[in-house]
Assembly symmetry: C2
Homo-oligomer: 150 residues x 2
């Protein structure tokens, strides 16, 4: 194993933690993508749609911020969503802004995908004991905060 100089001291464990989270995130998404593909909606579209469904209507720029992508990227994601009839663009008083709203169809599709995901994950969780399930639930609560701070 190559010897690498470290600036920080406490990094041996954090290094492993970071790598495991990174790797787990990659593989988790790959697994869930298989199920998500059944909806015919891409992962980025699904994630953006979920913000609109659970967080309510907002402008394209706000949605781009929430999803941590650039406006042109979100513009194209939204184009796909509107073409699929999952999101509606509404005009606002400010003629430059749009208000993006999830349609009934979009809301329904999102809930169905959510159901498929939890079925997949419930399968995996069934093999864990209750203590581990509880810890996983804690992690799910903790992660958004951490991600927000990166």
């Amino acid at each position: 194993m190559t010897d690498v100089k470290q600036k920080s001291v406490a990094s041996a464990e954090l290094l492993q933690t970071a790598d495991k989270l990174h790797s787990a995130a990659i593989h988790l998404l790959r697994r869930l993508r298989v199920r998500d593909r059944e909806s015919g909606v891409g992962p980025a579209q699904l994630s953006a749609l979920s913000v609109l469904v659970f967080g309510g209507p907002r402008s394209l720029g706000e949605l781009a911020d929430a999803e941590q992508v650039r406006p042109p990227t979100m513009s194209r994601i939204v184009s796909g969503l509107t073409a699929a009839g999952l999101v509606r663009r509404e005009a606002t008083e400010d003629g430059r802004r749009v208000r993006l709203v999830a349609t009934v169809k979009g809301t329904k599709i999102l809930w169905e995908g959510r159901k498929r995901r939890v079925e997949s994950l419930a399968n995996a969780l069934a093999a864990l004991d209750e203590t581990e399930q509880g810890r996983l639930r804690e992690l799910a609560e903790l992660l958004p905060e951490i991600v927000h701070k990166i």
Copy 2:
């Protein structure tokens, strides 16, 4: 909020957990991708490279399985890695198979990326108390098992 019929009973909490993990994974990767881009190596390439560096040499098919992608996808990822001089293709006794080996340069680049990631994540973790840091470390151990079972 739309009313959706549920097949399973215990899903209320699992539903939330699944969704939060999904969302956290998406946003974690988006954040870390910013740092990973400094290496000039894409996320899929980086992940495949990490398997070769930490798991040792293997064939393209094995690598595709490990990364849960189809052979053609892995074939292209490996092409990028070899073009960048990070991975070497070696012949085996079986003329159909290739042995993929991380080069010294590839190993070095991976370690540098790992360092950048942990610096980003250490920053985020600094805002957590030690109890939470410990729990996070435990969960990072748990995640790969779970992902494997999905």
